[in-house]
């Protein structure tokens, strides 16, 4: 069973509302503040990208569906700060720092470092990890879309592509494994592939059976096709 964020293929969402490039980058001032606050807090170095994603996914389905995009970010950030002990529930309630701040101040992102920090990013490719078990052109089958060690844990195998047959399209080297990294179980890098799925293998009534959906999937999501 997956969580509310895993919505690929879902029915009932209605039309997409294109903006044709007209929408401002941040529609209101607070959208920009949420993005900035989240990015700047990330530079405190107390959680990984995968942990951050997972906490947003753990919003209750009601909140996830009713919150706007930046409300999800804001809720995810507040929950993460508490989970990591950086702020307490009491501080969120009273909005005054009742406990002495942890010694993180020297990690605070400085304005003069913003552009270089954003330009640097953080590669997820690693030298360590197993050799590739599959080669380009080989048929594979995906396993169940679930975190294998933690119930309700993070995974990047979407439910719609669970238990489906596809073909290895590309190999991208070894990358940090989100299912482990989101739960402080180490980076556990493993080979990452692009896998091609024909629309007819994914959908009961594909628009065009020959259309292809490409997913980036880690080696342990895949089994050899029999």
């Amino acid at each position: 069973m997956s969580r509310i964020h895993d919505m690929g293929g879902r029915f009932g969402d209605g039309f997409v509302a294109p903006d044709f490039g007209k929408e401002p980058v941040f529609k209101t001032e607070w959208h920009g503040r949420v993005l900035g606050l989240t990015v700047a807090s990330g530079f405190l170095g107390q959680w990984t990208l995968d942990e951050g994603r997972h906490l947003r996914e753990c919003l209750s389905p009601v909140d996830y569906s009713s919150f706007s995009y930046y409300e999800k970010w804001l809720a995810g950030l507040a929950d993460m700060l508490v989970a990591k002990g950086i702020v307490t529930r009491d501080e969120l309630k009273t909005l005054s720092p009742v406990e002495p701040p942890k010694d993180l101040r020297e990690r605070r992102l400085r304005p003069e470092n913003v552009f270089s920090a954003l330009s640097k990013g953080g590669s997820t490719e690693r030298d360590a990890g197993p050799q590739p078990a599959f080669s380009v052109g080989q048929d594979v089958v995906t396993r169940n879309a679930a975190n294998l060690t933690i119930d309700g844990g993070h995974t990047r195998l979407p439910a719609y592509a669970s238990g489906k047959k596809g073909t290895i399209f590309a190999l991208h080297g070894n990358h940090v494994f989100p299912d482990a990294n989101a739960h402080q179980a180490g980076e556990a890098p493993e080979p990452l592939y692009t896998v091609a799925f024909h629309a007819e293998t994914l959908w009961q009534h594909p628009e065009n059976p020959e259309d292809v959906i490409m997913l980036d999937l880690w080696q342990s999501y895949l089994l050899p096709a029999s």
């Binding site: 509302a17 507040a78 739960h183």
Partner: protein, 206 residues
Amino acid sequence: MPHDTSEQHHPHSLLPSDPALRVKALETLLVKKGLIDPKSIDEIINTYENKIGPQNGARVIANAWVDANFRDALLKDATASLASLGLSGRQGEHIVAVENTKATHNMVVCTLCSCYPWPLLGIPPSWYKSDAYRARAVREPRKVLSEFGVHLPEEMNVRVWDSTAEIRYLVIPERPENTAGWSEEELIKIVSRDSMIGTALVVVPT
């Protein structure tokens, strides 16, 4: 880390209910604790409003259209060729470029969240982050495209790239036929953000 706290209310529910006040409250608290410099937030906003946006991607596309060697390098190893132009960084650490042709149309989505090539296109627009786009782009891409005014012939193959890992995808749209002899600067102006996501074609304005 506990990942389900719903039984005892998520901590975020302790903040004010109005989102603008909620972010103000959290920012104030973190500033008081010495963990956030509000000027850094200003600078992050300024960076994505003014320095990093679809104009970066448009330069890459126009360059690929006029320089076959650059196009080949981009298709072979986009991460390396973009890094040589200073176009790398957060949410663009690993880039793959995919090319639209007469036979194949590419479009990009992230069904699980809203992964997007920030260094090339900036912050994603609302529709890219919407439930409707995330849910439907993989199941009925042609119908979604028609909502953008793009109607593909049935014989054209559609490839949808679901950004499930840290690879970010850049669509190289087809260069319009009536742009022979155009300068790179002129070409940059007609490359829309949506054409690099694959929800628009590049057309010459009439």
